[in-house]
Symmetry: C3
Subunit: 139 residues, 3 copies
């Protein structure tokens, strides 16, 4: 069994952002030389997500608006978590809806994705450097 | 290490539908001959989900109503994504709540599920043929 | 390839509860003797979750309040599922938001977690003994 571990670092200029990281995960897979296996991609921070969906600007706009409706940033004082001095309680919730991780099949040395599947980093408390972990196992 | 890859195809007659696919995943596992390992089951489309929950008609009704409340289909024009000519922005959101994939343990050649765990395909933009990927690795 | 399977049992005194199970998963990993691989941790019940987030009491309070807002327990009769004699339809929904499982990378014999990542058992229909499955594969 082979394994490969790699960190990807991101810093979004705004509090929230959605970055297509598919090419970076593909590059990690190429380094691993794994032909058949599984690829785990997860946020290492608890106010960010890794998820798979469409790379369409209108949809990213809709996601952002929708997440803000389901777990609003304001009022900041409405969350007990923010009494710790943080203002990111909403980010912990948004991340829970969108998810921490994806597991992608590896077949014949490639990410085995459907035609529109793109891997995204979803940031809900940005403006600082944060990490994604790529862990690949297989043969 | 062994690996096995199989696609399952579905077409729901309505826009939304919930199909118990446990037996189909079990059949894929039997083909793989894997005794100990992991089984990834994921939607290959970004307006559908694979998830694990109860096969109880009342619950499926409740899920559908609840998802429609959290991410309503109408008004279609309320989503920027639908300006591309699509009318399925809500389906992208419903899928994000329900999830893209499940990873199931394989123990002694069987899916290692709890007593009520059933694997479902959740469709949020149906009426056309769509795929689920089953990827099994182990020994 | 090595594999290891272990069940963890929990009983929360209230209907809902959030338990940090990271040390228990670490103990299972130590037993497995796996150095490089993947660790699946999933609820075996469909009204409970395994998820990764912060171990901060204010946040756990916020989560609970937020989940109750998105999928309220009352009115019990508002859910078709509860016509079966259950009163836990809301728990099936809360679990779907929070998720069934996490997959954690194993690197150099340790859970490869970010600095604040803690593994939680989220219970939404407690007051009875319920199980979590830990399945580890690797070398």
């Amino acid at each position: 069994m082979k394994s490969h571990r790699q960190e990807l670092w991101f810093e979004t200029p705004e509090r929230r952002g959605y970055l297509n990281i598919t090419a970076k995960v593909e590059a990690a897979l190429a380094k691993s030389a794994v032909q058949e296996g599984l690829c785990l991609v997860n946020a290492m921070h608890i106010t960010a997500s890794v998820y798979i969906n469409d790379d369409e600007p209108g949809l990213l706009h809709d996601y952002d608006k929708w997440l803000e409706k389901l777990a609003p940033h304001e009022p900041v004082a409405g969350y007990h978590h923010n009494r710790t001095g943080e203002d990111n309680a909403d980010a912990h919730m948004k991340r829970q809806i969108v998810g921490r991780e994806v597991v992608v099949a590896i077949t014949a040395g490639k990410l085995d994705l459907g035609p529109w599947e793109q891997i995204f980093y979803g940031e809900f408390d940005g403006r600082r450097k944060k990490r994604v972990l790529v862990k690949i196992i297989g043969e």
